[in-house]
């Protein structure tokens, strides 16, 4: 179900200003929830504006990538900028070191049972 438009490597290079995923914050996981601190401001790069717009409610890094059709590696670089500028904050995923946490698993089981 790949209906993504091919975004060329050149285009992605322009979006991130040539920075690779290596310059993205290490704590950003696919399921880190991102929330904007305010609305988009004039003069922001279009990709930054788009992220701030869709993150008015919590949204995972993976969802941001899917909606904006930008690879996660590009989204995390852009999120690094927005975090630096205090425009968004990140709700870290439940740290794997604590897993398997019985209370957490029980919560998931309860949730699945209601499905």
């Amino acid at each position: 179900m790949s209906d993504w438009e091919e975004t060329s490597p050149e285009r992605l290079y322009v979006i991130t200003g040539g920075r690779s995923g290596a310059s993205a914050p290490a704590e950003l996981d696919l399921v880190t929830l991102i929330v904007a601190r305010s609305g988009p401001k004039p003069g922001m790069q279009p990709e930054h504006t788009a992220i701030v717009r869709i993150c008015q409610a919590p949204l995972s890094v993976a969802e941001i990538s899917a909606y904006l059709r930008l690879p996660v590696s590009v989204v995390t670089v852009l999120l690094g900028d927005l975090l630096d500028q205090d425009r968004v904050f990140a709700r870290a995923p439940v740290p794997p070191a604590r897993l398997p946490d019985r209370a957490l698993i029980e919560a998931v089981i309860d949730g699945l049972q209601r499905l």
Binding site: T7, A66, Y67, V94, P96, P100, A107
Partner: protein, 210 residues
């Protein structure tokens, strides 16, 4: 390969439908990875239980990591696009579970940093017509210490084996659950996830006891 500026601009206008917006109270997220060979039913399973229409994220893989593909006409292509479908289940007001359906080849897993490292566990989807494609996946997950259960998708023309025979063929320890599943069925797919969670609980109990 020209990018289409207007299409990309249109993508920047996209976002979740109003019914797909998470509540402000959503503060924590966990993930489970659905892994299996080509066409085994990963996307179907994700779609069956997801509260949102499955979404796709893509990452580009450079030639260095890919076997040389000399299909006529794509000789100039220097990169391969790898897609991963995912879905979401709101567990409660605070906790969200994400399900990622990822291809079985380990070289793709590195495209998404921390895909398995931060996961609660994995579901390995198996097609009994092509058991051999699962061997590699199972070995890699064991190496990485990712807890997993095996779900056997019931394709109509697929041979049925007793669980013990499958366990032997897949060389799996007694403790690893093997369950039949119909990925098209919501309840069946939900039960697979439930099996994984119960298994994680036994692992936690064993850990606490030792």
């Amino acid at each position: 390969m020209d990018f289409n500026g207007s299409e990309q601009a249109a993508a920047l206008e996209r976002g979740p439908r109003s019914e797909d917006v998470l509540p402000e109270t959503a503060t924590a997220a966990v993930k489970v990875v659905i892994v299996g060979g080509f066409g085994v039913g990963k996307t179907t399973l994700v779609g069956s239980v997801s509260e949102i229409r499955p979404l796709t994220t893509e990452e580009t893989m450079t030639q260095a990591g890919v076997g040389v593909d000399d299909t006529a006409g794509v000789a100039s292509k220097t990169s391969t696009t790898v897609a991963m479908d995912f879905g979401r289940i709101s567990i409660n007001e605070e906790l969200v579970l994400y399900l990622f359906g990822t291809p079985g080849q380990e070289r793709f897993w590195f495209l998404w940093r921390g895909l398995f490292e931060g996961a609660l566990g994995a579901v390995v989807l198996v097609d009994t017509r092509r058991l051999e494609v699962s061997f590699d996946v199972l070995g890699r997950l064991e190496e990485r210490g990712v807890p997993f259960v095996v779900a056997v998708n019931s394709f109509p023309d697929a041979p049925r084996y007793p669980v013990a025979e499958l366990r032997g063929a897949l060389d799996l320890p007694e403790a690893v659950p093997i369950v039949p599943c119909d990925a098209r069925d919501r309840a069946s797919s939900r039960d697979v996830l439930m099996t994984l969670m119960r298994y994680l609980q036994t692992l936690a109990t064993t850990q606490e006891a030792s």
